[in-house]
Amino acid sequence: MAEHRLTFPATEEQIRKLRAGDLVTVDGHIIGIRDRTQIRIFDEGVDPPLDLKGAFLLHTAPGVRKLGPGKYEPVSIGTTTSARMVRFTEPLGRDHGVRAIAGKGGLPDEAIEPMAKYGMVYFALVGGAAALETTQIEEIEEVFWEELMPECLWKFRVKDFGPLWVGIDSHGNSMYRDVQTEATKKLEEIVAKL
């Protein structure tokens, strides 16, 4: 297990160096996105108002305090269950050049192939650790689609964001698939003895 420090936006070459199980800390810019944001992009066909090339997408709907028109400060920014949004993985890589998707609980196995094909990774955060993550957000720089509050498109500047684990890498490996395979085997043994 290696440790890395990355600044986003990132390149395919940087992403290909990461392996499932590695620990990563992130600086730079990350984009907050969630169910309704992606439904708007992919189901309603509305182009995102910013370039997602090389982007780190965080599955989040933050708690914020409004300071003025289009300006917010963080109250509590954490992450949500990623699995609900797995069907957007392929178009995010293929059509928008996204390099990393982060959230909690993992993405189902159908994300493994598009991540390998387009050079993407899934980063696992500690779900519920929003008080910590909020201290790692330096600023909410921009917010788009405010009418979807809190499921807007957010641009955050972060420092020391993490810890993040490479849950799924761009080489066909998934920590979640490995854990599920073992747990299912164990479950069969337990049930046989009940």
Partner: protein, 298 residues
Amino acid sequence: MSVVETDLRQAVEDAAAHLYVWALKDIPQDLRDALAEAKDRETSVPGRRVLETIVKNVEIAEREDNIVCQDTGIAVYTCRVGEHFPLHPAKIYEALKIGTERATIDTPLRSNAVHTITRENTGPNTGHRLPIVHWEFVPDWDGLDVKCIPKGSGSENMSFLKMCVPADGVKGIKQFVLESIVGAGGKPCPPGIVGVGIGGSADYAMYLAKEAIARPVGTRNPDPHVAKLEEELYELLNETGVGPMGLGGDVTVLSCHVEHADTHMTLNPVAVNYQCWAARRASAHLSAGGEVDFDREF
């Protein structure tokens, strides 16, 4: 309403506003102890780091006077109303709703509530039939107990019901709980509290599962048959290896609580309701005169 009723309604509203925020910011000591103990016994490298991060997060929330998790959940309350408590439950409900709204606007908390079809946000964490309030009525008493359980969606989405048949027996109950938790993987933010409701009817089994997750960590059901099932399930669930945040490890659950109701001879319902590691709860006891005693251990 009489002056006494007005004051009492206000006391319930103030208590609700306090409980909602308090529950979100400051998790109970029994849970802190369980998380610290889990951190010490976890042997997987990522699992241990996850638990260290969780413990650190709880400390940061306290230091910064911030909420532990951004998901302020749906506001769920349980009320035990004494027969002689001078405020009607209709007024108690109204006070809980306004208290929830006040807490959401004043803090501010994220507004999670939406219309279930249009998905339009309904405002300050209230709406049609929100908050959700469960009622219990107590004879020969004039007090009111209110427990606030803000329930996050990551764990609520991992709820499961199976109408086992009597021939499935206790084995069927155990198998279903184990399959549910392995299937849930990292999605409900493990390690948390697995609530299991058995017996009654389909809807009541799920209600019992929700009651089970709201108990202090590691408490045991007074019925020895049920307590034995809790112990056995706890051991078996931690053998699955799902681990903290589903990244693999020894600690998959902090506790397993089971509540039961007698049922029909042909029924064997099993409901599973998961509570994430941030198992938030806070309680208040109100007297007939409106004195409020806030309580962490209830």
